[in-house]
Structures are given as structure tokens and as C-alpha cells.
Amino acid sequence: MANIITASHLTLGYSGSEADIIKNANFRIKKGDFVFITGPSGSGKSTLLRSLYGQLKPRSGNLVVGGHDMTNISRRKLQTLRRHFGIIFQDYKLINEWSVAKNVVLPLIIAGYGLDLQEVQAKKLLKHVKLSEHADSLPLELSGGEQQRIGIARALAKNPTIILADEPTGNLDEYSSNVIWDLMENANDQLDATVVVVTHRIPNIFNIPYRHFIIENKGVYEVH
């Protein structure tokens, strides 16, 4: 399988601070991989994920995502690249003024799909995450677990090639977390999407093969 993400001598840090968060990291992620990135709080897990969807520019080294050099990528190309991503956040990042159904089809709205197709896809996705009865509700009317399922449905809306998840179960109880992990497994298994999950802890029961990277002392290492 071809590499979909390649980092070589990657160093990350925030503007306004000279301190490096990730230093000289080297790793490769193949198409279809399911990857967990773990590490202690403040180790740079979310920072690494941000660099993968282009919100953080590498300080030095190379980072290639989906064939694009993230150091020099133009704004327009970054927009196009992001449309192939499904991104899931710990705090869900839903648009609270929009209905659940509209939130779910956000990537389709951005891609310019017609209303009919949006409606069909919304029904399908909400059925998939078992939220069909809440299509017209507002996100804040639902529980945390349900909101995260909306987030997952949104991430899957356009059959993404890469799914990036930042602590997707961080705010959820065990039951909701298990539902989320099942959905993530399905996305990888059935859609053949590459999934990169940043998390504190790998779930005890996980039914598909995965790779595990750990961030320690600013370095990224694969655990075999």
C-alpha cells in the first residue's frame, strides 16, 4: 500500500514561541491504516493532528499528506485537500444554529452538492449513527455521545480518504465511547479510509488491526 502521510525530520511549534512541540519526527502512514497516537497530556498529540489538516505549518522538515507538501501548500489547495478529510473533535465543533441533518451534510454543502442529494445522504448517515429521529433537532438538545455521533456522521458524509480524530471519546462515558469506536472501526473497514486517532488511551476491545504511535520527549515512535 502507498504512503498517504509521510513525515521526515518534522518539527512543529507555534508562532510566538520558540519552543518545539514535536522535534525531528519521522513516520509513515499507509492508505487504509488505522493509527492510534497516544501520549501524556501536553505531549503534542493534538498539535501533530493539526499539522495533518494544515492548521499548523511545519517549522522544519517535511510533511506530505495525500501527495501535498504541507509546508508550502497554497490556501486554495489546502481547501481542496480538506474536502477529502473527515475531522472529528473532542468538543464536536457542531454548528449549534443548524439542525442535526444540516450539520451532517456540511461537507456536501461545501462541495456544492444539490439539496436532494444532501437530503438522501443525511437520512443514510443519520440512520448509520442511529440518530434518524433527531434529524430536525438542534445539536444542543442532544447528549454528548449523540453529538459526537453527529460529528462522526459529518466526518463520513463525503466518503473521506483520511479521517482525523482528536480525542473523540474524551468527554464521553464508556457506553458512548464504545459506540464511537464501533463507528470508527466500520469507517476504516468498510470505507477503506485511513484513520488517525489521537487519544489518551487505546480502547480495551478493538476488533481490527491497528498501528500505535506514541509521543515521548517531542519524538514520535511506533510501538510494535
Binding site: 507555534y14 508562532s15 493539526r50 489538516y53 494544515g54 492548521q55 499548523l56 505549518k57 490556501r75 489546502l78 481547501q79 481542496t80 485537500l81 480538506r82 474536502r83 478529510f85 475531522i87 465543533k93 457542531l94 454548528i95 444554529e97 456540511l106 461537507p107 454543502i109 461545501i110
Partner: protein, 271 residues
């Protein structure tokens, strides 16, 4: 309450801009009408050695829009009747050709003098005389009021535009999270700013309708009640239906500019 406050904060400066622009249009129409009146009250008489055409006059001064030839034959024949030993034909032969000139716009004293000099300098013309009231001082006062109004409208538009942009920044802040989420999922700037544009365009249309209705009221109701004869006869100058289109177009341009300014100032900076 917050919703109303939000909209009022945008609507009021928009109204200020549109009322200013409509006043500008009304005053523009009034000044044109006034100039037309002044122009019609003004004529210049030219005596030429030979018959002349409009094109020949236009070569001397481009502001000449039309000419009227004075029929000297009937005039002289009438005068010669009852005068013994006077041959009308001989008088006619010796008389120059008379022309009344009209201009394409109202000319001030300085320009009239320049025109006179140009005409007098022509070898075909023997004499130039101008008749008419001198409106120069009242016309200058009119121009002064026009400049004052333009300055006031310009200042008001500029200030209000700042208020419009400020209010849009408040909206942008309120929708910041939504715009950020859309950005992460690859939405273009146009799509992200759509939420601001939608909100603003509703208020812009409302401001256009309110301004148009205000001036329609002035034209159709207030003027009649006022009893001011000059205004009643010129009430059509207070509002024209094409003004609605002009105001609508201007308000859309203002909204587009304000959205562009706010969005351009808040582009995602890659950390």
C-alpha cells in the same frame, strides 16, 4: 430584543447612507432643473456677414446647442411701409444676418465672456450681444449649497460605512465558530462569509424599502399638504422609481464591500 438590537445597529447606518444618497440624487435633479430654467432665460444675439449653419457655430464654441435665424426681410418690409424713398430691398441687402444662439448648459459669466470673445474673433461675425438676467450670484449660492450637501453626504456615508463594518465585525464574532468549522472542512471564503452576507442583505433591502417609502411619502403626500407651489409643480424631482434600483444596487455594493473588508481582515492564519 438582542435580535432587534443587532439589526437596528446595522439598519440605522445603512439608512443614513441611503438617505444621504437619495438626497444627493434629489438635489442633482433639482440643480439640473434649475440650470434648465436659467438656460432658457438666456440668449445671445449674433450678427453675421453671411448666412451661417449650426455646425459653423459649433466649430467656434461647442456649447452652442441650437440657433434661430431672425427673419430680417419681413421685419424690414414692415418698417419700410409708409416710408417714402426707402427701398426695403436695399436695406435688406445691407443688413447683416441675425442669429439667436442657445447653449447646452447654463454658463457662468466667465464662460459667457469667453464665448463672446471667441464669436467676436470670427471673421464671419460682426457683432455679439447677450441678453438675459444675470443669475450668477444666485447660481453661485446654489453651487455652494450643492458642495456643502455633497461634503455632508460624503462624510455621513464614510462614517456610516465604518459603523456598518463594525456591526459586521460583531456578527462575524458571533459566527466565528461556525466559520471556523466550515474553514476546517475546506469551505471557500465566499461560502464562509455567506452567513454574514445573508444577514446584511436582509437589512440592506429593508433600508432600501424604508428610504424609498420616505421619499415617496415626500413626493406624493407631504408636498401636496405643504401647499408650496414651487414644490408641488416640481414634486416629480423628489422621487423617481428608478431611485429604488439605484438605492438597492448601492446597498448591495456596500454590503459586499463591508463583508469583503471584514472577511479579508480575518483570514485563517496558519500557525
Amino acid at each position: 430584543m438582542k435580535y432587534i438590537k443587532d439589526h437596528v445597529m446595522f439598519l440605522f447606518p445603512m439608512l443614513a447612507i441611503l438617505i444621504g444618497i437619495e438626497s444627493f440624487l434629489v438635489f442633482g435633479r433639482m440643480s439640473k432643473d434649475y440650470e434648465k430654467t436659467l438656460r432658457s432665460e438666456y440668449t445671445m444675439l449674433v450678427l453675421a456677414k453671411l448666412p451661417m449653419k449650426l455646425s459653423e457655430f459649433k466649430k467656434i464654441d461647442q456649447h452652442i446647442s441650437s440657433i434661430e435665424s431672425i427673419d430680417k426681410e419681413s421685419m424690414v418690409k414692415e418698417m419700410a411701409q409708409g416710408m417714402r424713398g426707402v427701398s426695403a430691398d436695399e436695406i435688406i441687402k445691407d443688413l447683416p444676418y441675425f442669429y439667436t444662439l442657445h447653449f447646452d448648459k447654463y454658463l457662468d459669466n466667465k464662460t459667457i465672456e469667453q464665448s463672446k470673445k471667441k464669436l467676436a474673433a470670427s471673421s464671419s461675425i460682426t457683432r455679439v450681444e447677450n441678453f438675459g438676467k444675470s443669475h450668477n450670484s444666485s447660481y453661485n449660492l446654489f453651487l455652494f449649497i450643492k458642495v456643502i450637501l455633497w461634503t455632508f453626504v460624503g462624510f455621513m456615508t464614510f462614517t456610516s460605512l465604518f459603523l456598518v463594518i463594525k456591526q459586521m465585525e460583531v456578527w462575524q464574532l458571533a459566527h466565528r465558530e461556525q466559520m471556523q468549522v466550515m474553514e476546517i472542512f475546506g469551505a471557500s471564503t465566499m461560502l464562509r462569509s455567506g452567513v454574514l452576507f445573508k444577514r446584511a442583505i436582509i437589512d440592506a433591502i429593508a433600508a432600501t424599502v424604508i428610504t424609498s417609502m420616505m421619499f415617496m411619502f415626500l413626493r406624493y403626500v407631504w408636498v401636496k399638504k405643504s401647499g408650496i407651489a414651487t414644490l408641488i409643480s416640481k414634486s416629480n424631482l423628489l422621487f423617481e422609481y428608478k431611485d429604488v434600483l439605484i438605492l438597492g444596487l448601492i446597498s448591495i455594493i456596500i454590503v459586499a464591500v463591508a463583508v469583503a473588508v471584514v472577511v479579508a481582515g480575518n483570514k485563517e492564519s496558519r500557525l
